[in-house]
Subunit: 364 residues, 2 copies
């Protein structure tokens, strides 16, 4: 038997080789040529794998109905750069015809993080929903709901409890604590809830650590074929935004590892100074043999978040490789870009807050 690795969607994951993940979990590698006008993370390998891409690509091509869904766990009053990749992908599908759902996982926040439902609601309305709108989600084309208010999701999860065994939960999550089971079942309910109204394929754009939920949900679709007849659920996985010190992902438990949204400018510039780059031992050496952007977190931030145009990105890459762009100067430019990004984000969040009271939430 080959060694079995568990991806734990609740804890920190040290995944060094995304190709290994593709092989171990039987994912499809992502090919941006399948989709029209891919966004920058799709073009640049940040989106790297998924399941059933063709189903969704066909929906887009043939203008057939499909949906895209994301959930936020409002366990803090801010997000970090890593979270914004999911939003850009959700936005991509929204702009390409997906009926779009954004749910506030307040039950999850309460059970896993001890955040009360009231506090989750406040955070979602005051920050998370405005932030997602600021990052480009069209509120008029998005269905919002709170998990704790969605009786249909709860009904589905109750029913799905028949269709997954205890051993499957153990195999997929590494353990089968009742709260983990409840959370997993609720997420299955969330992911299929849009199909209660209309059977249509869906796609979940999300970090690869969420694949266990999606795998189980796809199994449940197969097992409840007769009762529900759900259409396929596809997924699109992105890599994490690495930690500023070079670790696999930004982590809320380590503030110095993150670019937070929003963030104080002076604090940000301080963090950026300590950020890991692909620079050489000495300036002399770097000028002579060039830097290593492949190992540089600053370059990764450009690639994932800050530079839209591929030509501009390539120009940075070439200048670094040629030893013409040095790290100090580069960190300065990167910090400036982030500060601009942040100012723009903050302004848009302010504007979006005014829209929130007019949003239509699903009521049950």
């Amino acid at each position: 038997m080959a060694e079995k690795r568990v991806i734990d969607p609740w804890g920190s994951v040290l995944v060094e080789d995304y190709n290994k993940i593709i092989n171990q979990f039987g994912l499809e590698a992502f090919d941006s040529n399948m989709f029209p006008n891919p966004n920058k993370v799709m073009r640049r390998g940040t989106v790297f794998a998924g399941r059933d891409f063709k189903v969704i690509a066909d929906c887009i091509k043939n203008k057939k109905p499909f949906y895209a869904l994301t959930g936020i766990v409002p366990s803090a009053d801010r997000i970090h750069f890593g979270n914004s990749i999911g939003v850009s992908n959700l936005r991509y599908f929204q702009e390409h015809g997906a009926k779009t759902y954004m749910l506030v996982a307040d039950l999850e926040a309460s059970a896993a993080r001890g955040v009360s439902l009231e506090e989750s609601r406040r955070r979602a309305l005051e920050f998370h929903i405005p932030a997602y709108i600021a990052l480009g989600l069209d509120p008029k084309k998005t269905v919002f709901y709170f998990q704790s208010e969605n009786i249909d999701v709860m009904r589905l999860s109750y029913d799905f409890s028949k269709h997954v065994t205890l051993n499957e939960f153990k195999a997929v999550y590494g353990n089968a604590d009742p709260s983990r089971i409840a959370s997993s079942l609720a997420q299955m309910g969330d992911m299929l809830y849009p199909q209660l109204e209309e059977k249509m394929p869906g796609i979940i754009p999300v970090g690869v650590d969420q694949d266990p939920h999606i795998r189980l949900t796809r199994d449940v679709i197969a097992r409840t074929k007769e009762k529900y007849g759900f259409a396929p659920l596809a997924s699109m996985y992105h890599k994490f935004t690495p930690s500023l010190d070079g670790g696999l992902k930004m982590s809320k438990s380590k503030p110095s590892s993150m670019v937070e949204l929003p963030e104080d400018e002076s604090l940000l510039r301080k963090k950026m100074k300590a950020t890991k780059t692909g620079g050489r031992e000495t300036i002399e050496e770097q000028k002579r043999i060039g830097g290593e952007p492949e190992k540089c977190i600053v370059f990764e931030l450009y690639k994932q978040h800050l530079i839209e145009d591929d030509k501009d990105l390539d120009s940075v890459y070439q200048r670094c490789k040629a030893g013409k762009l040095l790290c100090k100067e580069d960190k300065q430019s990167c910090s400036d870009l982030i500060v601009n990004f942040m100012q723009d984000f903050n302004k848009k969040v302010e504007q979006a807050r005014k829209i929130v009271p007019k949003l239509k939430f699903v009521r049950f």
Copy 2:
């Protein structure tokens, strides 16, 4: 280690010695002197055990608020005699000041028995709720709800998933299938839901096979003291109505074992002829040494269901013991009583059906 016995609330249970249950599960033996004007099943040992009786007795004595709750699983279009004991006890508490809840466990019926939510609703409205009213429940003083519509119950169950371990589910139920966990958590939510509005003690009058749910719920009360501050949950357990052939309980899987409500008269009289009694080998012997009402199912039906006055019941007992009441004649009288009961029941169900559209269900 002493042998551990598992009471399985979902399967058939062969429990021969109710005293053994009291000892093994650490129950309080029931003492009808604790309660004012006990009903016939309370007086006659059919109610035999429970938990925290004093809490509820004190509420009644001091006219403090408390609640009583029962759930029905509408897995059939009829009930049997055994089910009606729970209703009489619920009615007892209702008449002694309890805020009363009756919930339709339609999620349970769907997950465990494959009955659709629509079908559960139909059965509950057309039969089960009218039947409970016919058996004496005051609809004006009862809160009705459907489990599948009660988002508060679902929220509680999700939250409670944090407070019970997988091993506890295993220990209490013998296994920890996800659907069993979901069902158990939903039942905990049901039992404590009335306290979301007002913290007050509650009592669940129910067959002893439901004790596992109650034990876990009481543990959860202790573990969530700080968050919810729930008042104690008491329980009152009744023995089963034995199967007509002398088995421990009437069972839906064996129609000949049951007196169903409603039931066809000629079928009933046929079943009664085959019913086990405490009669002797020959009529001569019975006349000489008397019958054994302690072993007689007919006598048990009188005791639990058909004879209200203790003096009348005692008279039957004495006449049987004295060899003056023979089984054929007795079965005839018993059948007549059941037929009367049934006619009265059917009439009252008809009347109650007219009330149902006017009932106030909790809406969410």
